[in-house]
């Protein structure tokens, strides 16, 4: 398939892997930030191609995994109200809240629908004037522009029955948290290619100069990741720390300016609770006051719904790259995709789920 197969060529992959082997002289710990990258690494077994010196740890970049427990609870509460059509991307439906998930809410009679775009939810609102249509606006900077556009469109169309439960999170504050942690082990980052497609990579240059840590903006195909790893190893071995762009076919330094404009118009930066990690200052988006009429939390009065995250799994350590999923005693036994203890086991992009799906036999070996 054009534009895909070129980036999955096993021969080129072997060549890049050999190049990494030639370059590396000592151990390095690298983190891929984005859950989509984790998924590719596991699915293609990229880590098996790498020399022993390279350790990959998996970052907090799965939007499904880091959405706060109380936001999921709020979603379930709103979805369960009469007259509501609750719309979401598919993989949020299985995320457990405190006691239930959206699938369970659907089984209990809630009108929960999977959509492929927030604009589909806007259309649904237009077609169902007697119902209140809510879209679950989660994700990183990648999904935020389309969500901002949906709210903007709804206002322009004069819709009064569309709203969004917004829980957007931002990548750079989470990377800063990891870099500031006294137990940080990460020496180089594969920065998230799709986030940078939207935002550019100026923010990452600031992190690099502050923490002297190399970063390579990487794509999502096997060869993208191998090349990004190779570029990181070069920087580390040569003692450089800069932002390099492996994913130049999609990312430019300034990003997508029209997307950033709509983001600024509709959202403002706010504090956010991260599941498994805790609160991070200025790490998310919320709707600006001008768009308060589209804020589902306000409309349905669920701001008071708070959830205590019970102490059980080590997802915080996994999401910060301090532990591997296989280090967890509950992994694969008490914690599986069917009975997820922690959020990283929920989404296919979550580090634990990716390990479970593709690498479980490592524990049996």
């Amino acid at each position: 398939m054009k534009y895909v197969d070129e980036y999955r060529d096993p021969k080129i992959a072997q060549a890049v892997a050999s190049e990494i082997v030639r370059k590396v002289t000592r151990p390095w710990v690298l983190m891929e930030v984005c859950g989509g990258q984790t998924h590719t690494l596991m699915r293609y077994g990229i880590d098996e191609l790498l020399p022993r010196e390279i350790e990959l740890v998996h970052g907090p970049g799965c939007p499904v995994c880091v959405t706060a427990l109380e936001i999921v609870d709020r979603a379930i509460r709103i979805a369960s109200l009469p007259g509501v059509i609750f719309t979401s991307y598919g993989d949020m439906l299985r995320v457990p809240g405190s006691r239930s998930d959206l699938f369970q809410a659907k089984a209990n009679g809630a009108d929960v629908r999977v959509v492929y775009s927030p604009l589909d939810a806007v259309k649904l609102a237009r077609e169902n004037p007697a119902r209140k249509v809510v879209f679950f606006g989660v994700g990183f900077e990648t999904t935020a522009p389309a969500n901002a556009m949906a709210v903007w469109q709804a206002r322009r169309q004069g819709l009064t029955n569309f709203s969004m439960l917004v829980s957007h999170v931002l990548v750079p504050p989470a990377m800063r948290l990891i870099l500031n942690s006294p137990s940080n082990r990460v020496q180089g980052f594969i920065a998230p290619g799709h986030v940078c497609t939207v935002m550019g990579y100026r923010e990452y240059e600031a992190l690099v100069s502050e923490f002297r840590v190399p970063m390579v903006v990487g794509g999502f195909e096997p060869l993208d990741l191998l090349e990004a790893i190779s570029m990181l190893v070069s920087q580390l071995e040569e003692g450089r720390a800069e932002v390099e762009n492996q994913y130049a076919r999609s990312v430019n330094p300034e990003g997508n300016l029209p997307a950033q404009n709509i983001l600024r118009e509709v959202f403002e930066v706010s504090d956010r609770q991260w599941r498994g990690i805790g609160p991070i200052a200025e790490s998310g988006y919320r709707l600006r006051d001008e768009f308060a009429d589209f804020d589902a939390e306000r409309i349905f009065g669920v701001e008071d719904c708070h959830a205590e995250e019970p102490k059980e799994c080590i997802s915080a350590l996994v999401l910060q790259g301090l532990k591997k999923p296989l280090d967890c005693p509950a992994f694969g036994a008490r914690c599986t995709p069917m009975t997820p203890l922690g959020a990283p086991m929920v989404s296919a992009e979550g580090a634990c789920a990716a390990y479970y799906q593709y690498r479980r036999h490592a524990t049996h070996a």
């Binding site: 895909v4 077994g45 098996e48 427990l69 699938f103 019970p310 997820p340 203890l341």
Partner: protein, 362 residues
């Protein structure tokens, strides 16, 4: 060098950052129970099998094979709730005929008679019903089976999704043919009859209004002639251990079931599995894995190694098996484990689907 994490630091971190508790056992049916994956298997294990248990059912094949007056009769039933009712490459009527024929064929049976049970919703178009019935008649005639009995019920508006359809079928298993998912042996080869994912993606594309340059057609088709050709090629031997049509849950679920029921491992090779470009593209777009997507005109065969090439050649001579290929081998590692050698030479687990396969967020 990075500093090592002390147990104290780990404990402190774990105490500072906390994480969610598991969901209690589900007390209700959710959509995932119908996905053909792990939740469906749990429902069978926890509800049906303990109550209905008997030697025929406990074999857990796609069809029951029972002795009646000296004849070995294959017997199966399937319900169809597909939405939309009409889709590129077929409709619920032809699908219901093919699905039941295939369940019989996977037992090695020659399909003979079908029943048709209609559950209609008040307000459903009689013209649409006529089209569906006519499609069933055509599919049955083309496959050489007769629809010999039936039933119609009507439910109130809002209590059904237009039309649900059940078909039950019986057929005769030829002498000497004994196929079962519990018969795979280490060393056996895995044959797949063609490209995967067409049906599931055709339905999804139609349902969600996704458009591709090339229209993706469902592969819905009867497979009994292909099976007959395979049996003829291995006549008088037990070289064909088992046949499965990878419908709901896709190739991964079918292989996981065979591996579990036979107490063997199975390793498949990614480069041997055919996925059409347009299906691959749709899967990329939606974040789906073709191994988990439904097929309605493909089969998986577990066959003895010495007969594999002869059976494969027979399959390739049949239009339904023209693209058949050997995709893997049965092994004796952990029982029930299915793995795939990727194009990169690494190995990954091919797990059973946990619940519904969900389109990913990004």
């Amino acid at each position: 060098m990075p500093e090592t994490i002390t147990p104290e630091a780990t404990a402190a971190q774990a105490a500072a950052f906390v994480c969610p508790a598991p969901l209690a056992q589900r007390g209700q049916i959710v959509l995932g129970h119908g996905s053909g994956g792990r939740l469906s298997a749990e429902l069978l294990r926890d509800v049906f099998l303990p109550l209905f248990s008997n030697p025929v059912l406990d074999r857990m094949d796609d069809q029951a094979v029972v002795d009646i007056g000296g004849a070995r009769v294959a017997f199966t039933t399937d319900s169809f709730v597909v939405h939309p009712l009409f889709f590129p490459g077929g409709d619920i009527g032809s699908l219901a005929v093919h699905g039941t024929i295939n369940d019989l064929a996977m037992g090695g049976a020659r399909p003979l008679f079908l029943s048709a049970g209609f559950i209609l919703e008040e307000g459903f178009s009689t013209e649409a019903l006529r089209l569906i019935a006519s499609s069933m008649a055509d599919a049955a005639a083309a496959a050489g089976v007769s629809i010999v009995t039936g039933d119609t019920k009507v439910v109130e508006r809002g209590k059904g999704d237009g039309l649900y359809l059940n078909t039950t079928g019986i057929g005769i298993v030829p002498d000497g043919v004994r196929l079962s998912s519990s018969q795979a042996k280490p060393g056996d080869r895995v044959i797949l009859s063609g490209a995967i994912g067409d049906h599931g993606i055709a339905i999804l594309a139609k349902r969600e209004g996704l458009e591709f340059e090339t229209e993706i057609l469902s592969d819905s088709a009867p497979l009994h002639n292909l099976v007959a050709a395979m049996l003829a090629a291995s006549s008088g031997t037990d070289a064909i251990r088992c046949l499965r049509d990878p419908t709901r849950g896709g190739v991964s679920s079918a292989l996981n079931e065979i591996a579990a029921q036979s107490g063997v491992s199975i390793q498949i090779d990614e480069t041997c599995i055919l996925v059409r470009d347009e299906v691959k593209g749709a899967c990329e777009l939606l974040g789906l894995d073709p191994l988990y997507v439904a097929n309605e005109g493909k089969l998986l065969a577990i066959v003895a190694p010495e007969a594999a090439h002869e059976i494969l050649a027979a399959m390739q001579r049949d239009p339904r098996g023209a693209e058949a290929a050997i995709i893997g081998t049965v092994g004796d590692q952990s029982a029930g484990l299915v793995t795939m050698k990727t194009a990169f030479g690494s190995t990954r687990i091919v797990d059973m689907l946990a619940g519904e396969q969900l389109p990913r967020i990004c």
